[in-house]
Amino acid sequence: MAKINVTMTVNGEEVSGLAEPRTLLVHFIRETLNLTGTHIGCETSHCGACTIDLDGVSVKSCTRFAVQAEGSHIRTIEGIAHADGTLHQLQESFRQMHGLQCGYCTPGMILRAWRLLQENPRPSEDEIRHGISGNLCRCTGYQNIVKSIQHAAAALNGETFAEAAQ
Amino acid sequence: MDMNGSMRIEAPREKVYAALNDPEILKQCVPGCDSIEKLSDTEMNAKVTLKIGPVKASFAGKITLSDLDPPNGYSINGEGTGGVAGYAKGGAKVALVADCEATILNYVVDAQIGGKLAQLGSRLIDSTAKKLAGDFFASFGAIVAPGAQLTEVPAAAAEAPAKKGWLGKIIG
């Protein structure tokens, strides 16, 4: 099948590569750009392991074709830490609050939380639960993921989050 | 799943019955039919392309006619495999009832699917099969006698004693 050149900005850098019209964005990111932090967990857009940030919204990259992302600005888990290499507060908070176990859903979960906290910097527990309901986790039961996001939100707002991981 | 339907065709039973046995007419009526090849009076090979929800597949299969009872009716059954998409089986029991110069065509359709079609498209099957059956008989009616009216009878309604379906009407 004929390939098309696709160009996009990923984690602040302009990248381009060849993709068949049917190539999924997640495959382009993983196979062509070699950014393997974005995962694949299903093929029906249910699990959210492939969540990335695309032009300011959370997107499941298994449900987009690479060619549809032409000219877009994308952020993946590899582009979440600060430029100096220090971790983003969410990455730190997920570790502090034991918000991950096998780590497979984690990149998508953090990307979703990253956008959620920009949409709503002080979400309630309920808002967090609804906000991440497009991302499945099989290990944690979500309770510590919710706590991790609360912990990060508090830290980003300069507040303290009282509840430590029990 | 089963469903029933009924239509009035402005043509005598003999003509309707003959049309039901004519591969050329069947080819025009079977939705998505690419080809029909007659093997015998009761067997045909067919190629059909169907789209069920997200899955589009070409089916290669066989159509058989049985319970031949001219001019009162017959059973038409089809079975085909669509490769990775799965397989489909379906059939209709067709009964022709004379109504003066016209014919009332009653049908009971059942359909079964297997494989990926069933796994992904199960919630679409009933509506798809219903549409396919409707399309078949509507085309058939239009070819045999333009102006035929199709009345679909939902299976549940047919069973309900208060609203007798065509079977109920026949048996009284």
Binding site: E43, R138, G141, Y142, A165 | K116
Partner: protein, 806 residues
């Protein structure tokens, strides 16, 4: 120098040893997307494999035409059973003593069964090839209901077994029969039933479900023709077992097989078995001389690799009229699907289902299990539970509630009355186990107080009255579960897999500068072994956990181990880690004695050092000792400081817990809301309370999913109806209840550190707690037992049947 020494508390804290909520080492890479999962592996010239699968649940395969597929640009090879026969691999042995087709050989026996394997230069080309493989099938009659498997006129599923009246586990009574397994004293049990005042008799089914880790099963096989060596990366919970199996079936010498399980995205039992995809990838790599990657998609995962449960348990309990249990009689019909690929220890065709007497002092019991074939996917793995333990716990915990209902007794009171008492441990159960330790009364009483059980029952009574008066449309249920697990398989006297004793192992090397590497025979799939194993070593030998690297999953470097499943890592490998640490400590003590010029017996170990008894300022730290071990060991002593331990546990461990679920159900919609869920776990010594809590949260969420909706259902044609996340219920953060956790600590007396294992307890205990809550809610309306799963539609049907819908 001694004045500068940190306080004992500071030294202790620096170790981050057992009991500490140490943050996880793994998280640093996982939170940055730097995990290394199988699908992240990319090798030069790597090919991609994709499977052609059967649409039919039972059919004869008349013809496979691969010619069109082979012409697809990018397709390199198409492998069928005929190809595999040339290397004698068309069939492979299962862990349960059966054989299984790798690719369809003559017929297919379940939907989505593997028929051909297409290998191509890209994922897309492989998928194109799969589309063009033509297979002619002749449909055969299908059995999906295990109760119809052994009918006289049932179609023969396994033609390869024709005439074989003996299976791996004794006599086969019918062509679709796999085994009959019995334990306990039948005459004595029957007598107890004859004498009983009260009896219950209920068919309690545990439906078919699937472990469904977020990462599916996958592998990369790379065969080096020049060296004759195979490297196999895969999502393996038991990499060493995979290496031995590959060696046995491929005839490649075991030392030329390198099996590596990198980061694994969840297992839950799904990644214990050996699957067709692995074998095909290996063969394809040998055939093509190139690395071959095989990655299952979600539909393939849910419909082919290892389902769980499908146990149908006729449960009878005999009791006196005042509620003392006198006998238990259970018959289980076990649906194993098309091949017996159950992942149980070899001698246990029904796993440890004889833990079915639970936490109660049954004087007599009898259990009989019949395994049968059906046209469904093979498997029967322990989905987040020890072998068949969740099934057993479900039957007994439902059974006790049904008995309480029949006696008109409170279910908590009935349990307290029949518990094995603390002083009875070690306790010999009527079905042959020796329970190591327990304090059930303390645990349940603590739980009852924590939730204000009496208050909840009073509220329920009032709500029921209000319901009857028509003032509310909600009914309230209280579900109690008191489970006893059996984990840590297991003692070599009764546990093996393919003849391999189920020990586990640890090798520790202390480096000259006092840091260390530990290699363990288990494989974390999210449990955080890199974190917790280091904590055990830290406490045992006094090197800070942060100075210890833990490595698992590489069979070239890790000592042989049986892997991670059945909550066996802590009971078995955890013990091996402690024992290896103690060997190092013993040598360190000799070195310290020599350095301090005292007798070994005059030394005492204190946190991170050996010190002279009564003279704490005379000491040598482990760092001092490590340097000496490599620099100037005592005369006559071998240099170095390392140890290996292979631990064969003397017994299983028996974690237990008390779970209480409070639920409100709307009878008009069937929607059930979990108001409160309290889980008290006793897993003995607690290594990392943060990780234990995380394990409990996760296990409870899986229990919630299973009991409230998750199911792999088949229609009568054998179509699998739960094979995507559209249909297979995985709860999101919105549906998932809030979990309250608590604990008691009753150490295992035979385990070196007293730990029992916890990963699976919440699933084992959670399912009955949810189901008991649902059943308790409906019980006052005349209902006795409602089969799982309890999704809203089914609960609404129950309410409708009971005549209480609006």
């Amino acid at each position: 120098m001694n004045d500068m020494t940190p306080t004992r508390e500071a030294r202790e804290a620096k170790l981050e040893g057992m009991g500490c909520k140490r943050k996880r080492v793994e998280d640093v890479r996982f939170t940055q997307g730097r995990g290394n999962y199988v699908d992240d592996i990319k090798l030069p010239a790597m090919l991609y494999g994709d499977m052609v699968r059967s649409s039919y649940a039972h059919a004869r395969v008349k013809r496979i035409d691969t010619s069109k597929a082979e012409k697809v640009p990018g397709v390199v090879a198409v492998i069928t059973a005929e190809t595999l026969k040339t290397v004698n691999l068309a069939w492979m042995p299962t862990l349960a003593g059966d054989v299984q087709m790798v690719l369809a050989d003559g017929k297919v026996l379940f939907q989505n069964q593997e028929v051909a394997f297409v290998v191509a230069t890209s994922l897309q080309a492989a998928a194109d090839g799969v589309e063009l493989v033509e297979v002619d099938y002749e449909e055969l009659p299908v059995i999906v209901d295990p109760f119809k498997s052994m009918a006289a006129d049932a179609p023969v599923l396994r033609e390869d077994l024709a005439g074989k009246t003996e299976g791996a586990h004794g006599k086969r009574d019918h062509h679709n029969h796999i085994f009959k397994w019995q334990v306990g004293d039948k005459p004595l049990t029957d007598e107890a039933f004859n004498r009983a005042d009260v009896k219950i008799d209920e068919l309690i089914s545990y439906h078919r479900t699937h472990p469904s880790p977020l990462e599916t099963c996958q592998c990369v096989a790379s065969f080096d023709k020049i060296k004759g060596e195979l490297t196999l990366w895969g999502t393996f919970q038991a990499p060493h077992v995979i290496r031995t199996v590959v060696s046995l079936i491929s005839k490649l010498p075991e030392h030329k097989i390198h099996v590596i399980a990198p980061d694994v995205g969840g297992g839950f039992g799904n990644k214990v078995g050996a699957y067709s995809g692995y074998v095909c990838a290996v063969v394809a790599s040998i055939v093509t001389g190139r690395p071959v990657k095989w990655v299952e998609d979600r539909m393939e995962n849910l419909s082919t690799t290892s389902f769980a449960r499908d146990y149908h348990m006729r449960t009878e309990i005999a009791a006196t009229k005042d509620g003392k249990v006198t006998g238990l009689r259970v018959h289980i019909l076990a649906d194993h699907g098309a091949f017996d690929a159950c992942a149980d220890p070899s001698k246990w065709p029904a796993g440890f289902s004889n833990i079915i007497t639970g936490s109660y002092d049954f004087p007599v019991a009898h259990l009989c299990v019949d395994g049968v074939y059906t046209n469904k996917a093979p498997g029967g793995v322990a989905y987040r539970c020890s072998f068949r333990v969740t099934e057993a716990a479900y039957a007994i915990e439902r059974g006790m509630d049904i008995l309480a209902q029949k006696l008109g007794m409170d279910p908590a009171e009935l349990r307290l009355k029949n518990f094995i008492k603390r002083e009875q441990f070690p306790y010999q159960s009527a079905l042959g186990w020796e329970y190591d330790s327990g304090d059930y009364h303390t645990a349940l009483n603590k739980a009852l107080v924590a939730v204000d059980y009496a208050g909840l029952r009073a509220e329920q009574k009032a709500k029921r009255e209000a319901f009857k008066r028509g003032e509310t449309r909600e009914i309230m249920g209280l579900g109690i579960c008191f489970f006893t697990e059996i984990v840590g398989a297991g003692p070599s006297k009764n546990c093996d897999i393919l003849g391999l004793a189920m020990f586990d192992s640890c090798e520790i090397r202390i480096h000259p500068t006092g840091s260390a590497i530990a290699r363990v025979g288990t494989k974390s799939t999210g449990q955080g072994h890199e974190t917790t194993w280091a904590q055990i070593i830290a406490s045992e030998i006094g090197i800070a956990a942060s100075e210890i690297m833990v490595e698992e999953g590489n069979t070239d470097t890790a000592p042989y181990g049986l892997g991670t499943y059945g909550s066996r890592s802590t009971p078995v490998a955890g013990a091996a880690i402690a024992m290896a640490s103690r060997k190092i400590k013993a040598k360190a003590q000799m070195i310290a004695a020599w350095l301090l010029e005292v007798h070994e017996d005059d030394l005492v170990f204190d946190i991170d050092r050996f010190q002279v008894k009564g003279v704490p300022e005379r000491y040598k730290t482990m760092t001092d000792i490590a340097w000496v071990a490599y620099h100037s060991p005592p005369p006559g002593m071998e240099p170095g400081l390392e140890a290996v331990s292979y631990y064969d546990p003397p017994n299983m461990t028996y974690p237990f817990g008390a779970y209480i679920c409070v639920m409100d159900i709307d009878v008009d919609t069937g929607v059930a809301k979990t108001r409160r869920f309290y889980a008290l776990d006793d897993c003995g010594t607690r290594i990392n309370p943060m990780i234990i809590e995380g394990q409990v949260h996760g296990g409870l969420t899986e229990a919630f999913a299973i009991s409230m909706g998750q199911e792999i259902r088949y229609d009568e044609m054998g179509n699998v109806m739960g094979a995507s996340f559209m249909d297979f219920f995985l709860p999101t953060a919105v549906e998932t209840p809030h979990w309250e956790t608590d604990h008691t600590v009753t150490p295992s007396p035979h385990h070196p550190i007293g730990a029992k294992g916890v990963g699976e307890s919440p699933n084992v205990g959670g399912v009955p707690a949810f189901s008991n809550a649902v059943n308790d809610a409906f019980s006052f309306l005349g209902s006795t037992h409602i089969q799982m799963p309890h999704d809203a539609w089914r609960l609404w049907k129950v309410a409708e049947k009971l005549g209480v819908t609006g």
